[in-house]
Subunit: 160 residues, 2 copies
DNA sequence: AAAATTACGTCAATAGCGCTGACATATTTT
DNA sequence: AAAATATGTCAGCGCTATTGACGTAATTTT
């Protein structure tokens, strides 16, 4: 029965069993991270499309608001992207009046970045739905639990 | 002194104070999520470039391994992308021998997706460094803490 | 003072991954 | 027979990232 055999051979290479518990890998939490992060960024994404901006603009406006006076090099270090990637996004935010550059007082090659009031407002508007989502996820949680989650997230980061 | 005044006016629009504690928004955890997720996906990304694949391939190969026999529609629902987005990625995985399609036994319009052994191996290889990272982040944590983190991540998801 | 380095900007080309819109085919349902 | 469904495909586009190369101004080193 060559026909049957070849069918079996073909079928034999297909795996019908769900991947789980393989080598003590927790696939569930891997998926939870994927879904959680996807929905977490979906809130600001919806707001950003209205302004013609994207996720990259969000990141820039966020960190400049968090640390006004940071330099372009600081920002590249924080975001871990290339200056060519940053260039367009930063230019658009400056042209749109959300961020301004000031030559460094000591080192005038540097461009210190500051938010305008519009930039601050935008950063807050983007953070708000994310914050609400986080509060909802923490609903009923103790301070200890919040601390545990933060410790976990810190532990997920690559150490530099 | 019009010159001085215009200088002051320009400066007045720049905010030098770091954005923090505004309206009880926890900016720290927002950043922790960003950094944690970025580093979390960096592990598989490094492996994937060697095969000429990307993050989208990872997701497809992951979920097909988690639920062998899922249809294209199931996958689109899970990933929440369009079929056009999925098409190229899925085709490449099929052409490369990581995934196979089988016509649905009841509804022959359906294409049930199964991993090959190579597909299973790839999914495991990609999950492994992520799992190690998660274990490191949980190092010393109790079962209760792990459960709390999972509950938090579940709470971050948009309810359907 | 000249040379090297640094901080930043920019031009050009490319890749990955998502999107919309339109159309085609096979199959199942009505 | 007609309508709906599941899937595939073509074409074009947008956003974000990449590498490589080059330019300019300012600072540091020699």
């Amino acid at each position: 029965m060559p026909r049957q055999m070849s069918q079996n051979a073909a079928k034999a290479e297909l795996l019908a069993t769900p991947m789980q518990n393989a080598g003590s890998i927790d696939f569930e939490i891997i998926e939870l991270l994927f879904f959680a992060y996807r929905d977490f960024v979906s809130d600001p994404d919806q707001i950003l499309v209205k302004s013609g901006f994207g996720r990259a603009h969000h990141r820039v406006v966020h960190f400049v608001n968090r640390e006004p006076g940071m330099t372009v090099a600081d920002l590249l270090e924080t975001l871990q992207i290339t200056k060519q990637s940053l260039a367009r996004v930063l230019k658009q935010l400056i042209d749109s009046g959300y961020i301004r550059q000031v030559a460094g007082p000591e080192d005038r090659r540097q461009r210190k970045l500051y938010p305008t009031q519009a930039g601050r407002d935008l950063a807050l508007a983007l953070a708000e739905p994310q914050s609400r989502r986080i509060e909802r996820a923490f609903e009923g949680a103790s301070e200890a639990t919040r601390a545990s989650v933060k410790r976990f997230l810190r532990g997920m980061q690559t150490e530099k």
